[in-house]
């Protein structure tokens, strides 16, 4: 198997590593990020990703090594420090929460930069590395494991991803609980504070492990975007995490290919793709998407207009007048416009309304439907007069609005509540 791999085109090998490391990084971030999004702590993730910088520098200064475990230790310390400082400033100092975050992370980041320039300027601070990552070159830096050359990044992000998964699985219900109701969780013995700091520490470590590949800002994208996108698509945490992980991997794959195609920075492209997934969800998510809501609204408006036409035709029939409506008149009567035209066409197509010459008439099916609607209308009028005390001349408008939402069951219950379920307040008969 290994021989097959090493016999592949070097470009393909590189692509494989890039996609793999990218996917692992993104997934490690996305899983934790679900909690951040749900706990409204997304900006704390942003703050942490900036604030780990001094931790790294101090760790380097103290130990003189740039090894991955030193970096982790530094990140851990910085992560806890940030969370603690923000908490103190807010509770003890009375500074509003968002300002506390702003003060702490900018101060720590500035400190980190100054420390780097002072103590580590010999170590070339590659700005690219910090901010945009060098994912493209991920397989240049390799270590030998079990006789194979794998990118060093694998050794840093791999264990972190596994650790994240373990922690999440192990503390599944505690994390869930303390995310939704910290007070109750603490009173039941799961210290919400402990899990808060645990989450912070994991985020800090994941940030550091992802630094080299995707840079610090893009970590933020990977923390938040997949989780927020998944949040728009489902209401269950397990599914949300699954979707977020899927999005994370997809962002890695698509991001890579797009970056190759346009010849641009890979990590940036991955984050952009993640953002585009979010935009897609905002627009198209079945329940919570904007376009879906619009479509639902349109459908509802169309239904309302259709029913208005039916009701109008029914009432004309009831009056027994010879007066009947033609197409144009019917459309004008319900307000005109494309929606009305569409509605009438729909009615004709469904066989609720038929043409009699150039005038319109109800079919039996249509009459039955219209009857139900008028029944709902008049029952509601009776209900409004009796239970809401409205004068009879005020109830027609409200009933016109509400009739479309009263199904058969509700109609029966309304009928049970009114004194006379056969006559409306204007003396007209209520269809049965």
């Amino acid at each position: 198997m290994i021989e097959w791999f090493t016999s592949l085109d070097p470009n393909t090998q590189t692509a494989f590593w890039i996609i793999l490391i990218g996917a692992m990084t993104n997934t490690a971030c996305a899983l934790l990020g679900c909690y951040l999004v749900l706990r409204r702590m997304s900006m704390l993730g942003d703050a942490l990703s900036h604030a780990v910088l001094p931790g790294l520098v101090v760790a380097f200064v103290i130990t003189g090594s740039l090894g991955i475990y030193t970096m982790f230790a530094g990140a851990l310390a910085a992560g806890i420090l940030t969370a603690v400082l923000v908490h103190w400033l807010h509770r003890g100092g009375g500074v509003p929460e968002d300002a506390s975050m702003g003060v702490v992370f900018t101060a720590l980041f500035a400190l980190g930069v100054v420390l780097i320039k002072r103590y580590a300027s010999a170590v070339d601070l590659d700005v690219d590395c910090v901010f945009s990552g060098v994912l493209d070159m991920v397989d240049l830096n390799t270590v030998r494991i079990g006789g194979f050359d794998v990118p060093r990044a694998l050794v840093s992000i791999g264990p972190v991803l596994v650790l994240n998964l373990l922690v999440i699985l192990l503390f599944w219900k505690e994390l869930l609980f303390s995310s939704f109701d910290p007070g109750l969780a603490t009173s039941m013995g799961f210290s919400a504070g402990f899990f808060h700091y645990l989450l912070m520490v994991m985020v800090a470590m994941t940030t550091v492990a992802s630094f080299e590949q995707v840079g610090s800002i893009l970590v933020v994208a990977m923390l938040i975007a997949p989780g927020a996108t998944a949040h728009l698509l489902t209401d269950k945490l397990g599914r949300m995490m699954g979707i977020a992980a899927g999005l994370a991997v997809s962002s890695a794959v698509l991001g890579h290919f797009a970056a190759v195609h346009f010849d641009v920075n890979t990590a940036g492209m991955m984050a952009v793709v993640a953002g585009l997934f979010y935009v897609a969800a905002v627009l198209l998510a079945p329940r919570y998407g904007v376009l879906s809501a619009l479509v639902r609204n349109l459908q509802m408006s169309a239904r309302v207009v259709r029913e208005d036409i039916l009701g109008m035709l029914y009432r004309l029939e009831e009056l027994g007048v010879e007066r009947r409506l033609g197409r144009g008149e019917a459309i004008e009567a319900v307000g005109g416009g494309p929606l009305a035209r569409l509605a009438l066409r729909g009615l004709l197509r469904r066989g609720d309304v038929r043409r009699e010459g150039h005038l319109l008439g109800l079919t039996d099916r249509g009459r039955e439907q219209a009857g139900g609607l008028v029944r709902a209308h008049r029952l509601w009028e009776a209900y409004l007069v009796e239970h809401l005390g409205l004068p009879p001349d005020h109830v027609h408008e409200p009933a016109m609005r509400t009739e479309h939402y009263l199904g058969a069951g509700l109609q029966e219950r309304v009928a049970a509540e009114v004194a006379d379920a056969e006559t409306d307040p204007h003396g007209r008969e209520i269809p049965q």
């Binding site: 639902r296 408008e397 939402y405």
Partner: protein
């Protein structure tokens, strides 16, 4: 006959498409103290906010002396709920009361001596003149409420809306508020107060509006604040209205 101070015609208000107030139709008589009563979630605050144009109406309209709110703003004073504001804001009690005069001043003009004196007078009316330069965070709940009242007084209005002014205040403040309301009535102002304490309704208000998602009853306290009407207001929500509201929210025909 002159138009009444407040007239609400067939008003329906919805939050996120779900109707919370159904077809409210009522007239408020001039120069009376009106209590708006109902259980939690009945829509009392919503009624006030809708009347002030702070939440949109699904249908209906509200008229002040026959004209829409936008043209009569200067006649209406407002005391919002105390918790609607960040009390750690760096302003003094006098500053807050001065805000009541901003509407009169219009753009750019700063409050001058006249407005400051007016604000001081309003603070005195609620018994807070010695606290004029105190930062609002240092005031007790009752004192904060009085500052809010003074601000409404500074609006120098004919009609006042007050949202739960008696919540969380001490007995002395409650008495002060009641005295203030009575002095407003003596000056022929119309005051509508969202009130939560049924024990004191008969004592404080001449007129009541009983709400529970719809208008249960409105009229003089003696004839309207009856057991029967209270039963209707507090005896549980009208399930039918609830179901219909949910159906409207979902946009579908109910089961």
């Amino acid at each position: 006959m002159p138009p009444p101070p407040v007239e609400i015609h067939d008003m329906t208000v919805a939050y996120h498409r779900k109707p919370v107030l159904w077809d409210i139709d009522l007239t408020v008589p001039e120069g009376k103290l009106v209590g708006i009563i109902g259980p939690n979630g009945a829509g009392k605050s919503t009624l006030i906010k809708a009347a002030l144009g702070l939440v949109p109406l699904v249908s209906g309209k509200v008229e002040y002396y026959g004209k829409p709110y936008a043209r009569q703003r200067h006649l209406v004073g407002y005391v919002p709920q105390r918790e609607s504001v960040d009390w750690d804001f760096p302003v003094s009690a006098l500053d807050v009361v001065l805000m009541g005069t901003y509407g009169r001043l219009g753009w750019v003009r700063r409050p001058g001596r006249r407005e400051r004196d007016e604000a001081a007078r309003c603070l005195a009316q609620v018994g807070m003149e010695e606290f004029r330069n105190r930062q609002i965070r240092q005031l007790s709940g009752g004192q904060q409420q009085r500052v809010f009242l003074a601000r409404a007084l500074a609006q120098d209005a004919l009609i006042y809306f007050m949202d739960e002014p008696f919540v969380g205040v001490d007995a002395a403040t409650e008495q002060a508020i009641v005295r203030l309301l009575q002095s407003l009535r003596e000056r022929d102002k119309t005051v509508l107060v969202v009130h939560h304490d049924l024990q004191t309704v008969s004592e404080y208000f001449d007129h009541v509006i009983l709400l529970n998602m719809r208008l249960v009853a409105a009229g003089p306290t003696d004839s309207t604040f009856t057991n029967e009407n209270l039963q209707k207001s507090y005896g549980g929500r009208l399930t039918i209205l609830d179901e219909a509201a949910e159906a409207v929210r979902l946009g579908e025909r109910s089961r």
